[in-house]
Amino acid sequence: MSRPAVMRRMPQIAHVDVNCFYASAERAFDPSLEGKPVIVLSNNDGCAVTRSPEAKALGIPMGEPWFKLAPRAKEWGLVALSSNYELYGDISARVMELLGRYSAWLEVYSIDEAFLGVKGSPAELLALGRAMKAAVRRHVGVPVCVGIAPTKTLAKLCNKWAKHNPAFDGVCHWDSVPAPVRQALLGRLSVEEIWGVAGRLTKRLNAIGIHTILDLTAADPVAIRDKFSVVMMRTVLELQGTPCIPMEEERIGRDQLIFSRSFATPVTTRAGLRQVLSVYGQQASARLGKHGLQTKVLTAFAGTSHYNQHQASYPSVCVALPMPTADPVLLTRAAHALLPAIEEGLKYARAGIMVTDLRPTGNQSPLEPFENPHEERHIGTLLEDVTRRYGRGSIGLGHAGIKTGLDWSMKRDMLSPRYTTHWDELPLVKAA
């Protein structure tokens, strides 16, 4: 296939994600888990959120509650572990740091996946994908797959092929796959397999005769927009090779800190979001304190899923703080300013806070009348000290504290050591 050199130099997008991230992170420090069915449980040891291939082979569905699995775990040789967020967070940071060396254009999409802007000939791009895969495996210790394509949607799809088709050996580059092979693969996959097409949309697409990804690729984008939405039109254009989903701006800069996450199960109540925001407020306080910074502006936001066609709510508030602060009480209170904008009953898929306008602590002492009583009592440092010594969740303020509701007070009965973040829990190596 001869293409003009100019085409080859068009930027492409690499999608990298860790295979069975939580289970892989556990296996990196406990090789005895290799080859065994392993599941990692959600908060409170509720249900299986990560399954190793062996666990999938047992027929354990995603999200299966632990109480249903526990009676048969022994018989299956099933290993269940509580979510070890300290470990996963550190491993994620290492993976992202390493990937950042391959492209200045890195978008951390979630704890275990990232998009990177990449350039080069097909041969160079394949080599780059293989280099990234090998480096993450060797340097950090977890396996990844890589998909490279002209658009995000296709890159995600290529990654899926890389994962499930052994012939690709973990790295798939769209342009390097012969066109007839691509057609055949697309013709075999349901539209459900595409990034952003949920189960409900699949039914609606099927109703108009679109079953496979190949069918959708052949559809008229404008007709799709009229029948569905702009979001769906973008998906069609992306499948056809036109990039429509831009790379996100750099999210963590020198002058801002972001605490945001998507929820495994949507939060539907104001009380639930109040807890989430409280936790973020304290995390922000701790992080600011660590860096000797204070913030002047706090933004809190929440949102329903972008792929939820029936509900769209993206409230956000920006709170100007009366003076620079890193006080957890003030930050939490500011974050709660979002609550009146939350609609009870809507399914919020994510929330976060962002603190900006950062400045060094104690540059200028506030005038006496504005002195903050909490800061005076060093509550922030105290909370951090207790947390460091006794673990997250051992202490907290109000709604983020030990008296939290069920969802946020963590039950972690089967927690593995926090191998990389706690000196008392280092991995053990045998000298025998």
Partner: protein
């Protein structure tokens, strides 16, 4: 140069405040000649860890590496990015466990060697059969 040199003689009835005297000379109104030379304290991370992304700290259990100066309870700094070579002290995966040994690659074969005569060498069929988890670069020995 105004210098306060203590301690003072304290009566039994003196207030607490009166004992707050600097044990070392304190310069007043004259800058320390050393301050231009202060570039920060020694940072062990900077010296002991080449690449934070690929470096882990592990703890040793057992005495089979005594001869290499690695004792029970010591911490090791392990770099996963290093290429293991003949003579490297490696963390290897043996029977589902992380094990510390000295790697010997000779024409006669690959051997995982203990550094304690009480422990036998382990012959490895081929280098490709061996999973090296990382290469130990430093031992934090408890003295």
């Amino acid at each position: 140069m105004g210098v306060i040199v203590g301690p003072r003689v304290i009566d039994a009835g003196a207030s607490l405040l009166s004992v707050l005297v600097s044990p070392v000379p304190v310069a007043a109104g004259y800058p320390s000649p050393a301050q231009d030379y202060f570039d920060g304290r020694i940072d062990l991370n900077a010296h002991l860890i080449k690449d934070i992304t690929s470096t882990y700290v592990v703890r040793v259990t057992g005495d089979s590496m005594e001869g290499a100066g690695i004792s029970d309870g010591d911490e090791l700094i392990v770099n996963r990015a290093l290429e293991p070579q003949d003579g490297s002290v490696v963390v290897a995966v043996l029977d589902g466990e992380l094990t510390i040994k000295r790697l010997r690659i000779t024409p006669a074969g690959v051997v995982l060697q203990a550094e304690n005569p009480a422990y036998p060498d382990i012959q490895v069929p081929a280098l490709s059969d061996l999973t090296v988890w990382g290469v130990a670069t430093r031992c934090l020995h408890h003295v």
